[in-house]
Symmetry: C2
Subunit: 191 residues, 2 copies
Amino acid sequence: MSVTAVRATDSRHRFIDAATRLFARHSFAGTSLQMIADEVGVTKSAVHHHFRTREELLTAVVEPLAGELRAAVAAAETQRTRRARAERMLTGFIDVVIRNRVLVPVLVGDPGAIETLRSHADMSDLGERLLKLLADVDPGVGGWIKADLTVSGIACGMGVRALELDDDLLREHLVGAGRRILGLRAPRCLR
Amino acid sequence: MSVTAVRATDSRHRFIDAATRLFARHSFAGTSLQMIADEVGVTKSAVHHHFRTREELLTAVVEPLAGELRAAVAAAETQRTRRARAERMLTGFIDVVIRNRVLVPVLVGDPGAIETLRSHADMSDLGERLLKLLADVDPGVGGWIKADLTVSGIACGMGVRALELDDDLLREHLVGAGRRILGLRAPRCLR
C-alpha cells in the first residue's frame, strides 16, 4: 500500500471508531455526520470524502461483526445433529458478541439502526439462520421464543454491568445461561 | 370534568399514542415534535401546548408503564423468601412487558430514551430493585448476569415474532424460560 493509501485507511478507521462510540451514546438516529466530524476533530467534508451518508458509515461499522457472525453461522450449520448445531451457534454467537461488546447494544436495540441494516446486505437473512439453529432444538413456537430470548438477552444485556466484567467470566456465565434456556444440557440425573 | 378538560385529555392521549408509535418506528432520538404533530395531523404549536419538549412527552409516554412496574416491584419485595421474591418479580415483570408490548422495545433498546429516563423520576432506582430481586436467588456475579439476561431477553425479545403471539401463550413461554435461566424450578429428581 502507498503512504497515501495507508493514511486513507487510517482516517477511515478513525471515523468508524468515532461513529461506534457516538452510536452507542446517542443511538444511530441521534448521531449526525457533523457530530462524527467534531468527535474526530475534522470538517464534515472530510467525513464526506469517505462516507456519503450515515447509512454508509453504519454499514462500514457493522461489516467486521457481520463477517464474524457469517462465519459462526456457517460453522454451526456444518454440525451433524440439531443439538450440536445449537451448541456451536450459541458459543459462536457469544464469542462474536463479546468481541464486539461496545457495538452490539447499538445494533440490537436501536430501531433506526435495525431498520437501516434490514435493508442492507445479508444481515436479516443471517439473523434468521442464527435463530433457526437455536430454535430447532425444540420445534414449535416455544423453541422460537426461547431462541429469541437467548439472542436478545445475550445481545441486549451487554449493559454497564457486563462491560465491567472480564471476557472469560462473562463468556462462561452467558454460555451457562444460554444452555439452560435452550435446554442444551440436561441435569445429570435425567440423562 | 368540563367538556374542555375532556378534550384536553383526549388530545394529550392522541399525542402520547402517536409518540409511542413513532418512537417504536424511528427511535426516540429519531422522532421530532414536528413528526408527532404530522402524525396526529395538527401543527407543532398544538403539540407544544401540551408538551414543551420531547423529553416531557417521553416521560408522559412512560408514566403508566412505570406505575405498573413500581407496583410489581413493591409486591415482590413483600414476599418472604428470596425464591418467592424472584418468582413474583419474574411473573410481575412479564405481565408489565406483555401489557406494554409496543412501548417496551423502545425503552430498553434506545440509548437516547434510556439516557433521558435515567435522569428522570425513579426509573433508574426501579430497574436496580427489579434486577436485585432476580439476582438474589444466586448471590454473586453469576446471579447478576442471569438477572440481566432475563430482563433484557424478555424486554428486547418483544420483536416482530413475539408481537404475532397471543398474550397467554407468550406469557407461559416467557415465564418458563425465565425460571430456567434463574434456576427457579429445579427438575423433579433434584428436589
